[in-house]
């Protein structure tokens, strides 16, 4: 008994360290220390668990820890900074899968012990155990395949577009009803053979549901989905905590679930849309451009001509979007920024909260290119000074600078806070082609009198400007 108390006491310490860790991750000065503190919490939790009296054999535990640590350690070390988003999504999926497997292992344990012995040990009703096993499996499974699919979208292995087909919503509702129905029967059945078969069906449906859930969500909405999946991986762990009756899992998982939820809300607010709208609307799939009576044509300009304007500018703001990530242009952008500064201009980067495909995507890319973070300005701080900016350079961003969001009530993105690039004296828009943004909307910024399009690969365009400036 006393031994268990020591373990539980250590779990309390671990949970406390997680609380401090997450708290410190929320602020720039303390973030790195916060991560280490939560890491120490994790180490404590793992070490005291090894003392658990239930454990009969250590060889597989050691093997599992070594294999996992090697895979995780190597992946974390060798991955390029630019691939960070997909790696985080992948790890997130692994967390979900682990929770699913823990729930499954518990079911196997119940099968080998029989309900009577098991409920005697746990001191909880059989229905409760069944319910939380199913719940942990469900959330874990959806998190796993959802994250894997998100990983595929982020790494470009599958198309980033929203996939919508006829009857998709109906199919999803059917799937959900089936999952819940099986869950109810699974929870109430006393027969372990039935439970076992139902569980396997439940697992397959949950895995399919994870994919189906992410499928209709377009690239620009990915930041919301990624943070939601992050939240789910925490909830899965928390549910697994209920399965094995372990406090530290419940607390830590719940903390992650809550912080992920906050991030999700921040992302939704940055798009002025509700979570339900993001998840179920299939936004951006159909390219239904709104009735637009503006027939002005965008005016193109060459990189060389743009350079003359840039050279004369005393303040320049770069507005990066997903296109910068695709073109891997962050290093040349940084070079251009430095040259402009030497030339006497004030250079800033305006970061929209949902620019890119995951929360903070642009910050990671620009930090990788050594852009000083004093130059990274958040949306709310850059907009008031936008009218004083000589040149705003939009690099592969579209919806986050679409003025329709501010002044066209009929626009689907009306109300979404944007970076007001259109208020700058001159706007250069670097774009691969004449296609529409992810939302499929016409961007009025492109046809405004102070706007000039520079078509072509962003990296090549910026490089050309850099060469002009150097030459």
């Amino acid at each position: 008994m006393e031994f268990d108390s020591i373990i539980n006491l250590a779990y309390v310490i671990a949970a406390t360290l997680f609380v401090f860790g997450i708290k410190m991750l929320g602020s720039a000065e303390t973030a790195r220390r916060g991560n280490m503190i939560s890491g120490i919490g994790m180490l404590i939790a793992v070490v005291v668990t090894l003392l658990d009296r239930e454990i009969l054999d250590y060889k597989w535990i050691v093997a599992g820890l070594i294999i996992g640590a090697l895979i995780g350690g190597i992946a974390a070390r060798v991955v390029k900074m630019t691939s960070m988003p997909e790696l985080v999504a992948l790890f997130n999926g692994f967390g979900g899968l682990a929770s699913l497997l823990v729930a499954w292992a518990e079911l196997e344990k119940i099968e080998s012990l029989g309900w009577q012995l098991y409920t005697g040990q746990m001191g909880t009703p059989a229905q409760f155990s069944s319910f939380v096993i199913y719940l942990a499996m469900l959330i874990g499974g959806v998190t796993f395949t959802g994250s894997l699919y998100a990983y595929g979208k982020l790494s470009g292995r599958v198309s980033g577009r929203a996939l919508v087909f006829g009857g998709q919503k109906f199919l999803n509702i059917l799937l959900l009803v089936a999952i819940l129905g099986i869950g109810v029967v699974f929870t109430w059945t006393e027969n372990l053979d039935t439970a076992s078969s139902l569980f396997v069906i439940g697992v397959s449906l949950a895995l399919v549901f994870g994919i189906m859930g992410v499928m209709p969500i377009g690239g620009g909405d990915m930041p919301v989905v990624i943070s939601l999946l992050n939240s789910c991986s925490g909830l899965a762990a928390s549910a697994a905590g209920f399965v094995i009756g372990n406090n530290v899992l419940i607390v830590a998982g719940c903390l992650v679930g809550a912080s992920g939820l906050i991030l999700t809300v921040i992302m939704c607010k940055a798009m002025n849309r509700s979570l339900g709208n993001v998840l179920f609307s299939g936004f951006g799939a159909a390219s239904q451009s709104t009735g637009d009576d503006d027939d002005r044509e965008p005016k193109a300009i060459s990189a060389e001509d743009a350079y003359y304007v840039m050279e004369a500018a005393s303040s320049v703001v770069f507005i990066p979007g997903y296109g910068m990530a695709v073109a891997q242009a962050q290093h040349v952008v940084k070079e251009l920024a430095e040259l402009l500064e030497e030339n006497g201009a004030e250079v800033n980067f305006a970061i929209h909260p949902v620019a890119g495909r995951m929360p903070g995507h642009m910050n990671v890319l620009l930090a990788e290119a050594d852009v000083p973070y004093e130059q990274l300005v958040e949306m709310d701080n850059i907009n008031p000074i936008m009218p004083t900016v000589d040149v705003a350079v939009v690099i592969g961003a579209n919806d986050v600078v679409n003025p329709a969001a501010a002044n066209d009530e009929s626009s689907p993105i009306y109300g979404m806070p944007i970076i007001e690039a259109h208020n700058a004296k001159t706007v250069f828009i670097l774009k691969r082609g004449q296609g529409k943004g992810f939302s499929g909307l016409v961007n009025k910024l492109f046809v405004m009198d102070n706007s000039r399009m520079i078509y072509g690969d962003a990296k090549a365009t910026i490089s050309a400007m850099v060469n002009e400036l150097k030459g």
Partner: protein
């Protein structure tokens, strides 16, 4: 285990989590996600017990071992990646 107590803990942790972070600068969105994701690897605790407490070669042990490998990857990789990212931010701050 007292069920009510478990729920009590869960609810308190949820409110604590929601109050913990109010305004996160966008610079920290990715590290916060990645760092909290590492914490969600706490399932590792359940995986260790499942691997060690079920008899050798049983289905429970094999599932536990798989869970352990994935959870450990999540934990170790998650913390290291977050640290690498934050180090990169830090360097720039000076």
């Amino acid at each position: 285990m007292d069920l009510v107590l478990l729920f009590f803990i869960f609810v308190l942790a949820a409110f604590l989590g929601l109050e913990l972070i109010s305004k996160v600068p966008s610079q920290l969105h990715t590290p916060l996600m990645s760092g909290s994701n590492a914490i969600s690897g706490i399932t590792i605790v359940g995986a260790i017990v499942a691997t060690g407490a079920n008899g050798d070669g049983t289905a429970g042990m094999i599932l536990g071992l798989l869970a352990l490998i994935f959870a450990t990857t999540n934990v170790v990789g998650g913390y290291l990646v977050t640290d690498r990212m934050l180090l990169m931010f830090k360097k720039k701050g000076k």
